[in-house]
């Protein structure tokens, strides 16, 4: 068991919200898509921030904004169309530069469907640089200060010998209210390029996604992926590049659904 999952018991103030899974949050197999699930988790963490009075407007007044650096998740099964799910979240701990937030998605029987940890940092809006996390930003989440950062897993490296590639273009509706390409779009591109045959026969079981540098509106984006097969699972490794920069790396583990 990795360090980030062992530390699940360390937790701040809890917040939870129910959600009726809508058909348009699901793929053709009627399972919720990973990108829509990530959107929902961000929505729920935003609701907690609003409830605690730490709205985006409040952060903007302080000259800062939260940015997501990494997602790490395990899936027992994805929620399905018209299912009611509960999303529980809490800020797990923080240090000078990083804040770790846990999410547990359960069904109405209380069974865990998905567990996910996000790593956040704080951006100084004017300087466009990461800045220290202050007590004012995190005290109300009741997360403990733990000076040593959590060692988060790195995505598997892409196999340069067998890499596939597809080009995407950032569209207007990929941009969210923060004026950035929404995090979930990277996942949508990375999954899409695996193709219908693969996606309709496999379910993602775990993954880690690292965001390195923002993609800009209108840019052509190159998505690369390679496959590695073991006896009981398939792993894919991914890299997104644009204008000479690496924007995102990720790897996912898949199981065959048939």
């Amino acid at each position: 068991m990795s360090e980030w999952s062992r530390r699940k018991h360390m937790s701040g103030k809890k917040y939870s919200s129910n959600h009726h899974v809508l058909y348009y949050e699901c793929d053709k197999t009627q399972r919720m898509t990973m990108q829509m699930l990530l959107n929902l988790l961000i929505q729920v963490s935003g609701e907690q921030s609003n409830e605690l009075g730490l709205t985006e407007e409040k952060m903007t007044e302080m000259g800062v904004a939260w940015i997501v650096l990494q997602h790490m998740f395990t899936v027992t099964r994805m929620p399905v169309t018209n299912e009611v799910i509960t999303v529980e979240t809490s800020a797990k701990q923080y240090n000078k530069f990083f804040c770790y937030r846990d999410f547990i998605v359960t069904n109405q029987a209380g069974e865990t469907l998905v567990a996910l940890t996000m790593v956040f940092a704080v951006l100084d809006i004017e300087k466009r640089k990461m800045t220290h996390i202050s007590d004012e930003m995190v005290a109300r989440y009741e997360a403990p200060l733990v000076k040593r950062p959590i060692r988060t897993p790195r995505p598997l490296l892409i196999d340069e010998e067998i890499v596939d590639s597809s080009t995407y273009r950032v569209r207007y509706f990929d941009i969210d209210a923060n004026n950035h390409v929404n995090n979930s779009k990277y996942v949508e591109w990375m999954f899409d390029m695996l193709g219908a045959d693969f996606l309709s026969q496999h379910e993602v079981k775990s993954g880690t996604i690292k965001f390195e540098k923002e993609v800009l509106y209108g840019s052509p984006v190159e998505c690369q992926a390679s496959f590695a097969e073991t006896s009981d699972s398939i792993q894919t490794a991914h890299r997104i590049q644009s204008e000479g920069n690496v924007n995102c790396t990720a790897s996912f583990e898949w199981s065959n659904v048939y």
Copy 2:
């Protein structure tokens, strides 16, 4: 006033549902996108069908499926992030080949934000052809049979002299549980090609969208659009083509939001 809106008083059994608008259903201006609103309306009409026992499974047993032929709408203002809206819907009337369904989206003060009418037909799944609407399919919606079809407005024709063009590709997550490109994707493409400068400064006020022929997964899709300006509004005309077929035509009226 057009014929379809004059006939709003003719209505079957009503169904309504509240919805908390999520941030990921909104664009960078925090207004709900037209494609997400269309998705929500389809979700709500599906909920009514389920409540009345006319589920998709039941239709499939009868060898048929509903297909959407046209949307016609007027917007007072689009819903915004975290607003609670109410969607009310009813089957307005039907004839041998078409069923008309009304939707009214209101805010919590009861003010109408969006009014929309959809035209549906019934597909014989095996023959892949439109078939007669039977009493069994519509009786529970309590919509009156009115033999004469409603004359629905046609989209404005594109101006062939000044047309712009963009190419899209159908992605895996554009396909919904019916194994078709979700209707909302056509709207997303048509709006996206208008560009960030236009979309962030204009709000759609009305429109009509006609679906002619399904786009297939993996196909390159050519989206064309032309602009026409009058003293108080801008109109755009659209055409989507793939593999030599016209898949969709539409026109929208826009107002400047600043």
